[in-house]
């Protein structure tokens, strides 16, 4: 057994013991696993590396904190429940179309920002009350928005995992729209229809509407939606007109949205709201800090390279398995960077743009997977499901089908490339 494998096993064992035996938060368990890995590797207690790793996801952490505050505020003003109410009321007669539109709606922020977490924290939070009120189980609702977040992260115009892979192989972000549409929308539609058939039973619209909070549109009018419109407009402007728009950054955009929410709807207590939001965001932020440390130690000790080389060492006949391993890196960005880049070279001879798009899809599913299970943890918080592994389990079929789409895209990369070139 290689020494790197011993290090990895010791880290995973400490993580598992922390979570399952000592019931520690996942973030704390990841930190302890990182310290253990460094000790086993003979690095002692590398304080600088642990601190540096914890900053790996600083921007994501700030986005989560500010997005959580924003969503709590628009929930308190009544905007969230009003949108849910009218969405169901207008589309309840066509439940399949309703679920598909909800899935696209959840994907939307990810398409603009390239961030899967943005989907769950914004549009995902908007649709959760409606889906629960329609009688869908918590785990199914959580699973649907988590999967939609994965597809949103991949769908064009912005796909950061593809950009990371492209950056690693000096491939400009040109010509990806078609491949990314193929990688994201067909599995998204399949997932939506699957959840519709399996989990969404016939419902009585009056009973559902009764379960939802009363809409407050009549009371406050259009201004109720101004904070949401402003945030979407600022995000869109930053993406579409970077030359004209002063760079604000996503966290500042959410804070601007939060500040404009005062007086647009129901009153709320800002201090309590802030405390509550940050308390909710804290476990996920801690996970990201822990993941950063974990990845830093994996790299420092050579385990990251060991995993990447092990994937390459799979026999030629099963080289596609290396792509299947990608989600198990537990992070879309880590998978895209560590194994996505070498795999583009492994599949040289096939259309590289299609291959990179497919690999990005495989990598994006990493955000669902443990140890961090980031999207499942978020979704669990949104739907009130304390055991986020139930959400992961409920996503199994959708993950399998999405993975199959990714592998088929790689296998038929040249044919797909020719097909896209017809347009």
């Amino acid at each position: 057994m290689s020494f790197e494998l011993v290090i990895l096993i010791s880290m995973l064992a400490v993580f598992a013991a922390g979570v399952f035996i000592f019931k520690l938060p996942a973030g704390v368990s990841l930190m302890l696993a990182s310290i253990t890995g460094a000790f086993v590797a003979g690095e002692g207690l590398p304080v600088r590396h642990l601190v540096e790793g914890s900053f790996g996801f600083l921007e994501a952490i700030m986005i989560i904190a500010t997005a959580m505050i924003f969503m709590k505020v628009v929930e308190a003003t009544g905007a969230l429940s009003t949108i849910s109410y009218y969405m169901i009321k207008s589309l309840h007669k066509r439940p399949t179309l309703l679920i598909i539109i909800i899935t696209f709606f959840v994907m939307f922020p990810g398409m603009l920002t390239g961030l899967s977490s943005a989907c769950i924290l914004t549009t995902g939070a908007l649709v959760v009350p409606a889906l629960l009120a329609m009688g869908m189980p918590k785990k199914a609702v959580g699973s649907l928005i988590a999967m939609a977040a994965v597809f949103g992260e991949i769908a064009p115009p912005i796909s950061i995992p593809v950009m990371i892979i492209g950056g690693g192989v000096d491939m400009p972000y040109i010509g990806f729209t078609g491949p990314l549409l193929i990688a994201s929308f067909p599995p998204a539609i399949f997932t939506a229809i699957y959840y519709r058939k399996k989990y969404l039973k016939d419902f009585n619209i009056d009973e559902v509407l009764e379960k939802l909070e009363n809409p407050v549109y009549d009371q406050y009018g259009f201004k109720l939606f101004l904070p949401i419109i402003l945030v979407i407009a600022l995000l869109l402007s930053e993406m579409l007109f970077p030359e004209l728009m002063f760079h604000l950054g996503v966290p500042l955009i959410f804070m601007i949205g939060t500040l404009t929410a005062f007086g647009t709807g129901n009153k709320f207590k800002p201090v309590g709201m802030l405390q509550n939001s940050l308390r909710n965001a804290m476990p996920v932020m801690a996970i990201l800090i822990g993941v950063g440390m974990f990845l830093q130690i994996l790299t420092l000790t050579g385990v990251r390279g060991y995993l990447a080389v092990s994937a390459l060492q799979l026999p030629e006949e099963v080289k596609y398995l290396a792509a299947v391993i990608m989600p198990f890196f537990g992070s879309a960005y880590a998978a895209a960077s560590v194994i996505g880049v070498p795999l583009v070279f492994v599949f040289l001879g096939k259309n590289s743009i299609i291959v990179a798009s497919a690999l990005a899809l495989m990598a994006a599913m990493g955000d669902l997977m443990p140890p961090p299970s980031l999207l499942c943890a978020y979704a669990g918080q949104m739907v009130g499901e304390p055991n986020h592994f139930k959400i992961l389990k409920a996503s199994a079929l959708a993950i399998f089908v999405t993975g199959a789409v990714g592998i088929l895209m790689i296998y038929f990369a040249n044919d797909i490339g020719q097909f896209i070139n017809l347009f």
């Binding site: 970077p242 080389v309 070498p342």
Partner: protein, 373 residues
């Protein structure tokens, strides 16, 4: 037993204070400048802010070493340290600065083009902060930095980086990458301002021939390559042929016309210079590398690359001997010298005559320590 939460909070606060102090001392150590001892032929040391005032005294205001020959001739720019995690480029610049003698023309050396990036390392890469080399005066420590500018100088990154003026989209991280920022702009980001200043330098000093020294991971196809703008093609191919005669293989790579922001593209498009970018093989940058430490910078030995090579699935230029730093520096310097010679052949009326720089074989035989003061 239930412990008072105030005691727990106080303990954690104390623990975090200790962590901040211990790591803070290490992080601050990266702000100690590297020391370079220029050769006797040094004419003056300029600053990048001489070409764009706004950079003055800031973390982008890097040193420029001027060497001017008695005879007139061509002006050459040797730009190193664009990516501070690519050690051979920086050390080649240090070695050239400490050894070069000039008879005709002018040589400008910037050893640390992205000075800001030398003050930090990249999170989650597990990089060492420095490495030590033997020299004539004993051990010398050099910083090993980040691929990009320090986020303390430019933050936050956008989600997507839109290159000016092409509008080309890259991941947000690349917004701090100097070699994606050219031609830069005076009212842009910190990194774009540094890129702008370098382009102004090329224009104002009327640089004829310019080099940008880099390294790349063993699995990247453009390693051990000379990348040239289309207008530099004849000079580059002639030099590559001469290098072949010495049994040194450099892959010729023409700069892609639709990939913007890079020195070999934008310097060529926006100035009169003949630009070249050279890459050596650097395992510590690779995604397949094993344990990450300063030893890996110096020896370039990573058994995992051998294992990856044996799979036959990647085109990896690597052997069991590794790719030691002195070999990588020697390749850069020999490539530089051959391109300068080739330029002199094409422009005999405006040559640059350099001495004092070791040939490839000499550097391998004598080692870096004999050329570092």
């Amino acid at each position: 037993m239930k412990i008072d939460h105030k005691i727990v909070a106080s303990f954690l606060l104390f623990l975090m204070t200790v962590v901040c102090i211990v790591s803070g001392v290490e992080f601050l150590d990266m702000r100690t400048p590297d020391v370079i001892y220029p050769s006797e032929d040094l004419t003056k040391i300029g600053k990048l802010s001489d070409y764009f005032e706004e950079l003055k005294d800031g973390s982008g205001d890097t040193d420029i070493y001027f060497f001017e020959g008695k005879e007139p001739g061509a002006t050459v720019l040797l730009l190193c340290g664009t990516h501070p995690n690519e050690a051979s480029g920086f050390i080649a610049g240090v070695l050239a600065t400490e050894n070069v003698k000039i008879k005709a023309g002018r040589l400008l050396i910037i050893p640390q083009a992205c000075l800001s990036g030398f003050s930090c390392t990249d999170p989650m890469e597990g990089y060492p902060q420095s490495y030590t080399l033997e020299s004539k005066s004993g051990e010398r420590k050099f910083r090993f930095g980040s691929r990009v500018s320090n986020p303390l100088d430019q933050w936050p990154d956008p989600l997507v980086y839109s290159h000016f003026p092409s509008g080309q989209k890259l991941s947000g991280f690349e917004t701090r990458n100097l070699n994606r920022s050219y031609p830069g702009r005076p009212d842009g980001t910190f990194t774009e301002k540094v890129g702008y200043a370098i382009v102004q330098l090329i224009k104002k000093e009327k640089i004829d021939l310019a080099f940008d020294l880099h390294e790349a991971a063993p699995e990247i196809p453009i390693i051990n390559a000379i990348i040239y703008h289309e207008k530099s093609e004849d000079i580059g191919l002639n030099a590559i042929l001469n290098l072949e005669f010495r049994d040194l293989r450099y892959a010729p790579e023409r700069s892609p016309e639709n990939f913007h922001g890079l020195s070999h593209r934008e310097w060529g498009d926006n100035t009169d210079v003949y630009p070249f970018l050279m890459e050596t093989c650097n395992p510590i940058q690779g995604r397949l590398r094993g344990r990450t430490n300063s030893e890996l910078i110096l020896t370039g030995k990573s058994p995992q690359y051998l294992a990856a090579q044996e799979t036959g699935k990647l085109r990896i230029e690597y052997d069991a001997e590794g790719v030691p730093l002195d070999k990588r520096v020697a390749r850069h310097l020999q490539g530089f010298l051959e391109i300068v010679n080739s330029y002199n052949e094409f422009f005999p009326e405006k040559t640059i005559l350099l001495e004092g720089l070791p040939e490839y074989e000499d550097l391998l035989e004598n080692g870096l320590s004999n050329y570092l003061k």
